[in-house]
């Protein structure tokens, strides 16, 4: 018996040492493979959306999170122009709820937003699986799982460089869709009998996300941008139920979109499936949001704040880009 116990402890200690060694190696590899800069050239994924790390600490009051509908559908500088609210789009294509939570943790390292606008299309993403959730957690702990493929490009002198967040994104994370393609499909908000079910794993991730927001005193708003391809009444009903359950404001801009936004299906979408809004559609959505925020959220106006001078410069540059686009499309 004595020998058995000794053997048990010996094997347990060996296994513990092995796990410790594996953990140390993963940490070391994470350090090696982590991009040294915050731009795409350094290997940072979705550098435009993640460039908030280059902004002054705790300077952004509102973050937009979600998938590609969100990064096409919100315009932080339109919001700045209309209300002076400092916001950022930290949404990524094919995002899932577990990915949003990872993003929130990234945001909280350098920023302390007062509000998050979550685009809820991702609650129905088929990409969200138990494995993906687990991978998200693994990426949180060891960035080598996110950046392992950098072995192809990494150089020795790069490893020895310190971290540097020098890349500044003047569009504040917005992905500017410039195409203008008419949506000619059917009306997508036809009333349905039953709400679509949200998978348990996704609900659990949403709950965890809301808990993190609550702990950090961040208000959450659910807001759908018009999306003919990924949205319908059954999904609206499901999100409405969730919003009632968690007592979160929910705005679905797929409903009454012509009256509320003045959305034109011929000119405001970037693809024929009505999946992504172009910059004009994004402007309309954001102008509606600016009015809603001014009426319902007490977020500060920083337009005359000297610390936000750069934002005014960025806005100027953004306006010039929009003007150039309008000129190119013959609108001016």
């Amino acid at each position: 018996m004595h020998t058995d116990q000794q053997r048990f402890w010996r094997h347990s200690i060996r296994t513990g040492c092995f796990l410790l060694l594996v953990t140390s190696l993963l940490l070391a590899l994470s350090w090696v493979f982590a991009p040294r800069g915050n731009d795409a050239g350094s290997g940072t994924r979705h550098a435009e959306q993640r460039a908030f790390s280059a902004e002054r600490r705790n300077s952004i009051d509102l973050f937009f999170l979600g998938d590609s509908s969100a990064f096409a559908g919100f315009s932080p500088l339109e919001l700045w122009q209309k209300s002076g609210i400092a916001s950022w789009v930290a949404a990524e294509p094919d995002e899932t709820m577990s990915g949003v939570e990872t993003m929130l943790k990234q945001v909280l390292k350098t920023q302390h937003p007062k509000m998050i606008v979550l685009e809820p299309s991702l609650l129905f993403s088929s990409s969200e699986t138990a494995s993906r959730i687990l991978i998200s957690r693994m990426k949180d702990a060891f960035s080598v799982f996110e950046y392992h493929d950098r072995w192809k490009t990494i150089r020795l002198q790069e490893i020895l460089q310190p971290q540097d967040a020098a890349y500044h994104n003047h569009r504040k994370g917005q992905h500017l869709y410039t195409d203008e393609i008419a949506y000619q499909g059917k009306e997508w908000m036809v009333p349905s009998g039953q709400p679509e079910s949200i998978r348990l794993a996704v609900s659990a991730e949403l709950r965890s996300f809301l808990d993190t927001c609550r702990q950090n005193h961040i208000r959450v708003v659910l807001m759908n941008v018009p999306n003919a391809s990924a949205w319908n009444s059954a999904r609206h009903d499901a999100v409405q139920k969730l919003a009632d359950q968690y007592q979160i404001p929910y705005i679905d801009l797929n409903l009454n979109r012509e009256a509320r936004l003045g959305l034109d299906a011929d000119t405001d979408f970037a693809d024929r499936y009505g999946q992504h809004l172009n910059y004009r559609g994004a402007g309309k959505v954001t102008r509606f949001l600016a009015r809603w925020l001014q009426a319902n959220a007490n977020l500060p106006d920083h337009r005359s704040d000297r610390r936000y001078r750069q934002w005014n410069d960025d806005n100027l540059r953004y306006r010039q880009e929009l003007e150039a686009l309008d000129t190119a499309s013959g609108r001016n």
Binding site: H11, F33, T129, A130, F145, H148, K152
Partner: protein, 505 residues
Amino acid sequence: MTYTTPVFLLAFLPAAYAVWWFSPARFRGYVLLAASLVFYWFCSGRMTLAFVLTGLLVWAAGLQMERTGNAGRRQCILASAVILLTALLLIFKYSVFFETALRTVFHFREASGMEPLLVPAGISFYTLNAIGYLADLYYGRAKAMHNPARLLLWLSFFPQIIEGPFVRCNETSAALWNSERPDYQHRIMAFQLICWGLFKKRVLADRAEIFTRTVFAASGSSSGMMLLIAALLYTLQLYADFSGCIDIARGAAELFGVRLPPNFQQPFSARSVAEFWRRWHMSLGAWTRDYVFYPLLLSRPMQKFCLRLQNRNWAGLARIAPLITALFAAWMVTGLWHGIGFKYFVYGMYYFLLSAAGILLETPAARFCAAVKLNRDTPFWYGIQRIRTFGFVLIGMILFRVNRLSDYPVILVRICTDLHIKDLFRAGTLLNAGLDRGDWLVLAAGFAVLAAAGHLQMRTAVRSALARRPAAVQWGVELLLLLAVVVFGAYGHGYLPVSPIYGQF
């Protein structure tokens, strides 16, 4: 949930193992059964019920066969059960195929609106295992399992339910039901096998998939050289994919003290097509041999048929005809087992023709070599035979991989007529089909490691030899494999998840 997903490797397997480890010995069989059914539920949802009902049917048929002494009645039970199991397999697996075929025949423009049936996971594997079990009972090679839970566990054991290997009830049922905790060294060896399997699947097979998918999707516009490279890579990919998953399955089973039979034994060292199939998917080959080939060859009608031929002085035909007939049936089952559609029938027939030709030509070839005094027992001749066999396998693999059967002759013709090495280095070829220089380097190094390990395995049992080495060496190997998977694995951003190829059968 497949064996290479993090949720299986980092959540399900450790949780099931912990519960099993700390359970009293008499409950471990039930714990394994519960874990297997939970795993099955994750894979197939409500189809778990269909699986359990099938298992209970097999259990009841087995008991009935044991209880009745009447040979005719036993035969009747066996035949009924086999027909029912085969019908279930056909209904679940081929429903979409039959619907498409009916629409084509009757020229329906629109789909019938019939929802395709959800196929129970591993149905091809557990159906053949179940038929094998009943056949073993019939021939008196096994005893019926009286406890339905024990039979269900043998059929559903989670490491083998998705991709096999096929096992006989005598091989694993006792070890499964009365599973004992393996000692430390065996746990380490099991872990090593899982790491090795993951390396093959995640680093090699999933990376090769990017290239083969791209080239075969554009087979109409790809050059002959690109198609040849894709075919070569697909052959290696399929080996890495299937044998990798089997290694993970065997490693996971060994953690629970159960030894599953190996399914591969250096198949590319085979010197004939028949030998290749004794080394590739060995458990399927053994199954068709034991439950299709020999039963048909030794069946009473076949014996009578031989006798009749002999009586008519056709002795040569009497010797060959039963062999060829049994071979035909075995290859037809092998082909159709692989999947839906005419392509798999042709695949089976391709190997039937090669095997039949091998049998028919063996004697004339031996005579010819003796006449020209050609020594066939030399390393050089063995090399020629290996290259020839690999060539035949390659042609079969292209058939196995093509998206449509009509693409097959086009690809073969292009490989034969449009083979220019310069095509590989032209812009828009080798480095523009999803893989860059780094990927090719990893593939080359990885397959070289695989070949070296296979070569070593032919000389000595590598796993046992490694177990005799100091702990530091064993740790080094495990860490190397794990880190290779983490760094060089084809997962994450830019990679599509690749399901195990044999998981779909």
